[in-house]
């Protein structure tokens, strides 16, 4: 018998085994290869010595070596480990938190919702930390915009704290274009306003001195809702409060006027101001000079305003920085969220009381873990519902082709309240069915007694933690002193009964 074919066969077999061994985890690889190579070597010798070595048996041996890939894959992706993971992981608190985070991330993955664009999106103008706004305070009587314009022009000249100023006057308006009528807010602005904010129109040009009174610049939202984003919109016209106006520019999508959501801008000096008082609300934007603190500039401006006597008696101007406005908005959102949460808890009080009755009462660490998970889950769920309701309303508003809708805010609020009620209810029920120690979902469910014997013996359901931490007793009928929902802790010795996780699903 020739020795050469065996060596060649062994070489091929070892090559296949070496390739397959790369699949095996590193720490088991050497032992795995030794086992296979040993088996193959002995089998080759056996075939040679028994005179069974032929082309057919060689091919059989090679096909057995290819089977080593299956064994190697088993080592890498152990079925028991994979099944354990698939069965156990969805019941863990980590899965719940990750699922909520994933949902939240999916909602925020695209364009952030309009209401939060100031927080999440890039700032709508350059260096917002050095911008001050002056507006009429709540108790102040109405002030004619032209009077404020005359006063504000002097401020940068009287103090070196400001580099430029721009006056505006906004009012509710009605615009009518190719897609129909829309209620919007329009503003008359002085010509330097966009330069002060560091914004240039994405289409067309800024205001110039030679512009007639009928020249307007549109916001991106109105351009999209009325002209469907048509790039040939320049020199087209629309009706603004019953007057025909010509479009000379469109502002970029990320631009947002710092104070109001203005859809149409017109030049201050050319447009006839309304004769009716309290119809148009004036304000001033000021750019603080580089190197000057915004707070210092704010205090100096307040002093300057109080010294000047050219404004009508009783006029009160409020000075605030853009940062103050953002903080105020955040505070308002925070209060609304807390109030909504309290209202929702009051609505869900019965379910919440059930949860409190069966709360953990053993080690402090378990209690902390339990409450922390509940709080985190609720926070994430409410945030998700909040963003989802805003996105849904936004999508509907966009579909019906209007830039702003009078019912959008109310619809978003009601949608949020409804969604939050459902989410909170689910969250409480989910928490109720979790172990008070390890916070995993209770996996073992056992029905007790028969519903027909409800008054004769204990009937209901018992949920058991498969780690052996405790049982949750849920009676079929809550009957006061006789039977009630309760959580019972089990001694560590119950681990013997409930066993390890892997052995429960390891049936081959």
């Amino acid at each position: 018998m020739n020795v050469h074919p065996v060596n060649k066969l062994l070489w091929w077999c070892n090559l296949i085994l070496r390739l397959a061994s790369w699949i095996v985890p590193r720490q088991k690889r050497l032992e795995w290869r030794q086992e296979w190579e040993g088996e193959v070597w002995h089998w080759c010798q056996f075939l040679r010595e028994s005179g069974r070595l032929s082309v057919r048996t060689e091919q059989e041996l090679l096909s057995h070596c290819w089977g080593a890939f299956v064994d190697a894959v088993w080592h890498r992706f152990n079925r028991v480990v994979v099944l354990t993971f698939v069965n156990e992981f969805p019941r863990t608190p980590q899965f719940c938190v990750l699922a909520c985070l994933a949902l939240l991330a999916a909602l925020l993955a695209g364009r952030p919702v309009a209401i939060f664009s100031g927080i999440f999106a890039p700032p709508p103008c350059i260096d917002p930390g050095h911008l001050l706004t002056v507006s009429l305070s709540e108790k102040s009587p109405w002030l004619q915009p032209e009077l404020l314009l005359e006063t504000a022009v002097r401020w940068p000249k009287e103090t070196q704290l400001f580099t430029s100023e721009a006056t505006y006057a906004w009012r509710p308006s009605l615009v009518r274009g190719p897609e129909g009528g829309e209620s919007i807010q329009s503003a008359r602005v002085t010509s330097g306003v966009f330069e002060l904010l560091g914004v240039r129109p994405s289409l067309g040009r800024d205001f110039q001195e030679v512009d007639s009174e009928n020249c307007v610049i549109l916001s991106d939202a109105l351009w999209k809702s009325q002209f469907r984003g048509d790039s040939h919109v320049l020199s087209r016209s629309l009706l603004l409060n019953g007057r025909i106006v010509n479009i000379i520019g469109v502002l970029p999508a990320q631009f947002r006027f710092p104070v109001r959501n203005i859809a149409v801008f017109s030049s201050f000096g050319t447009f006839p101001h309304p004769l009716l008082p309290m119809f148009e609300w004036p304000g001033v934007l000021l750019r603080v000079a580089a190197g000057v603190d915004a707070e210092t500039a704010k205090r100096q401006l307040q002093l300057l305003i109080s010294w000047q006597g050219n404004l009508p008696a009783g006029t009160q101007l409020a000075v605030s920085s853009l940062k103050d406005l953002q903080d105020q908005a955040l505070k308002t959102y925070g209060i609304v969220v807390v109030l909504a949460l309290l209202a929702l808890l009051a609505l869900q009080w019965r379910s919440f009381a059930r949860l409190l009755n069966t709360r953990p009462h053993a080690p402090v660490r378990d209690c902390w873990r339990w409450y922390l998970f509940f709080a985190m889950k609720n926070a994430l769920m409410l945030l998700t519902v909040f963003f989802a309701s805003l996105e849904i309303v936004q999508a509907v508003v966009t579909r019906i082709n209007v830039s702003t809708h009078p019912f959008a805010g109310a619809a978003a609020t009601w949608l949020f309240l409804f969604g939050a009620t459902v989410a909170l209810r689910w969250s409480i029920l989910d928490q109720f069915g979790r172990c008070r120690t390890c916070v995993r979902r209770l996996a073992v469910r056992v029905n007790l007694g028969s519903p027909a014997h409800v008054l004769l013996e204990l009937t209901g359901v018992e949920l058991v933690c498969d780690e052996g931490h405790g049982t949750l007793h849920i009676p079929l009928m809550e009957s006061g002193c006789v039977d009630s929902e309760r959580w019972t802790y089990l001694h560590d010795s119950w681990h013997v009964l409930l066993g390890s996780k892997e052995s429960r699903i390891s049936a081959p």
Binding site: T488, H491, L497, G499, P508
Partner: protein
Amino acid sequence: MTVTFKEFSAARDFFDYKGSARLTGGTCLCSIATYKMDDSPKLSYTSALVLQTISSGYCYGFDIMEVTGLPSGTVYPALRRLEQQELIKSSWEAPGSALADNRPARKYYRMTRDGKETLVKAVQRYALLEQLIRAGKTKRR
């Protein structure tokens, strides 16, 4: 109220269903305990066949493949699972003897006590396996 498993195991022999319910504060533990105590692993036909082959004295992977006619991609993962369930145990042969014969060492498999008990139940479960064993014994005679 916390109840230890030992107390429960001792008590369940003396108390009826309701009695144990009062003792534990959870009657379901009685049924779970009864279920779990009888919770021996249930083998597939392939695993039972592999286990039976090892029981018959074939202790190497390729020997098992030869006897059962199963491919290596089936036999080896079955061996790994059986070993994981502690029904069989693997060992390397003494390196000295392999070195003396100038050959690589081999890994062999043998049954554990749990494996023997499980095989008895598996044989009762799989009638065909029982017939194969009987046929094998008759053939040997």
